[in-house]
């Protein structure tokens, strides 16, 4: 590290122990080497991150922790300049203490998202921004499925974009649960497989109930199955596409609502949607939360800051996580002639 930033090892050690201060010049070099912003060393960041870090001192941070930290800071900065980006945050909902309570929370979420009891949740990632949760999809490979951090107002979720689309949506639905019960900081490694943790299992149930509303699913499943000319797999493909969920989630939900038996649960879990299904059944392939994706409202706020000359092009591109290049930024207006006095005085 010392060699990389052109310092004596002893100087770096002294900076680390606090025996000597650090100059901006040194900090810029250290930050560049560690791929951080200087801000990260100087400003504590959102309180939820500060207390999370304090509670886990000595534990190695994971990629998702770094991404949440970076995004929480970026979003807080943008929100401070464009407050309408986060319009408010719903009041804290009670922790679900049973599966039935998880269903109640899902119904509450539907009403907050202004969804009728029977609508499939299309564009979940857009809907949640209306209640102050900003979801980002980043490629996290084998890392966590998702994570959420509460801001002073609103929250930020990161979803692992390397999951398949159904799993990405399920993960975001699960994160919405954390957000509604106002969990300050959470990372989820394997959504829908944490039976040991009662709360996580209930939030998985919440996610399924949100994406696959019981009354609607019962009715449609009966209708789709009634035709009789389609095999179970075809009905499942139809249902999965209608609600935009993966087969494991659908199977699980059908099982818990006792719409199918154990053998059928296993069969549905093994179903793969084929290209032929998409053509023959005329299905729409959802692309939600493809990495790298940012909330549209956030992108709009950043572009506004760029247009209004609150941030430089470099900074705007950074806030947009490299999804734009300089050419794709809007043109800034010519400097008004009246400004000549400001320039020359």
């Amino acid at each position: 590290m010392a060699a990389a930033v052109g310092m004596a090892r002893s100087s770096l050690a002294k900076i680390e122990t606090g025996a000597r201060g650090v100059t901006a010049l040194e900090l810029v070099a250290i930050a560049r080497e560690l791929r951080r912003r200087v801000e990260w060393f100087v400003e504590p960041g959102p309180p939820s991150i500060v207390s999370y870090r304090a509670s886990r001192s000595g534990v190695a941070t994971q990629v998702i922790d770094d991404e949440l930290d970076r995004l929480a800071r970026d979003v807080e900065f943008v929100v401070a300049e464009v407050p309408e980006l986060v319009d408010g945050q719903p009041g804290q909902q009670p922790l679900p203490t049973s599966m039935a309570a998880a269903d109640v929370l899902a119904a509450k979420a539907r009403s907050l998202l202004k969804l009728s009891a029977r609508e499939p949740v299309l564009e979940l990632s857009r809907l949640v921004t209306s209640i102050g949760l900003l979801p980002f999809a980043l490629p996290l490979g084998e890392g966590a499925d998702a994570g959420t951090v509460l801001l002073r107002v609103g929250g930020v979720s990161v979803v692992n974009g390397d999951l398949r689309v159904g799993r990405r949506r399920l993960a975001l639905a699960h994160e919405l649960g954390h957000y509604l019960i106002a969990d300050p900081y959470t990372t989820d490694w394997r959504v829908a497989s944490t039976e040991a943790d009662a709360l996580e299992a209930r939030l998985d149930r919440f996610a399924r109930a949100l994406l696959l509303p019981e009354a609607d699913l019962r009715e449609r499943w009966a209708q789709w199955s009634a035709g009789g000319d389609e095999a179970l797999r075809d009905v499942a493909v139809r249902a999965g596409s209608h609600y935009q969920v993966d087969m494991a989630t659908l199977a699980r939900r059908l099982g818990e609502l006792e719409l199918v038996d154990g053998r059928q649960v296993n069969e549905i879990r093994g179903v793969r949607t084929k290209k032929a299904d998409i053509v023959e059944k005329n299905l729409v392939v959802p692309r939600e939360l493809e990495p790298i994706s940012l909330p549209r409202t956030y992108e709009q706020a950043v572009l506004r800051l760029y247009r209004g000359e609150t941030v430089t092009a470099d900074r705007a591109l950074g806030l947009l996580l490299g999804t734009f290049d300089e050419e794709s930024l809007p043109d800034r207006p010519e400097a008004p002639e009246s400004e000549i006095w400001a320039v020359t005085s």
């Binding site: 901006a24 400003e43 900074r315």
Partner: protein
Amino acid sequence: MIPDVVEAELRTGAVQNDHLRAVLDADWIEVIPLDTPEHLSAFAYYEQRLVGADGRNVGECGVLALAETMAHAVAVVDDRVAGNAARGRNVEVRRTLGLLCDAIREGLLTVPLVSALADDLMRDSYRLPFGPGGFARWADENGLT
């Protein structure tokens, strides 16, 4: 005065642009390290607005951070975003052209020279509120000559 980060930018630049060495060698320019918590905090504030992944504009952040933590200091920065960032902070900002106008008034520089310089600045994508040759015209109309 220049902050340490500007000196570093000049040193990097001087490898390719030898004339920058004149600034580094000037004995009337003092280099100030930004090393107090106030410096670093102000630096981070400007970094949030000006600096992206490629690390450009660190110099502007340093100048503004230094000026706002010193009494009676004036920050000279030309970037409009940098000027906007300083608004509402306790720092006076001037642009290079303002200093050049002072120099014209004091008879140190001529209008044609500064006008040519302003045109050069524009070529380097400085956005100025007039076109090529516009400075001379404005100076004429406003009695700077």
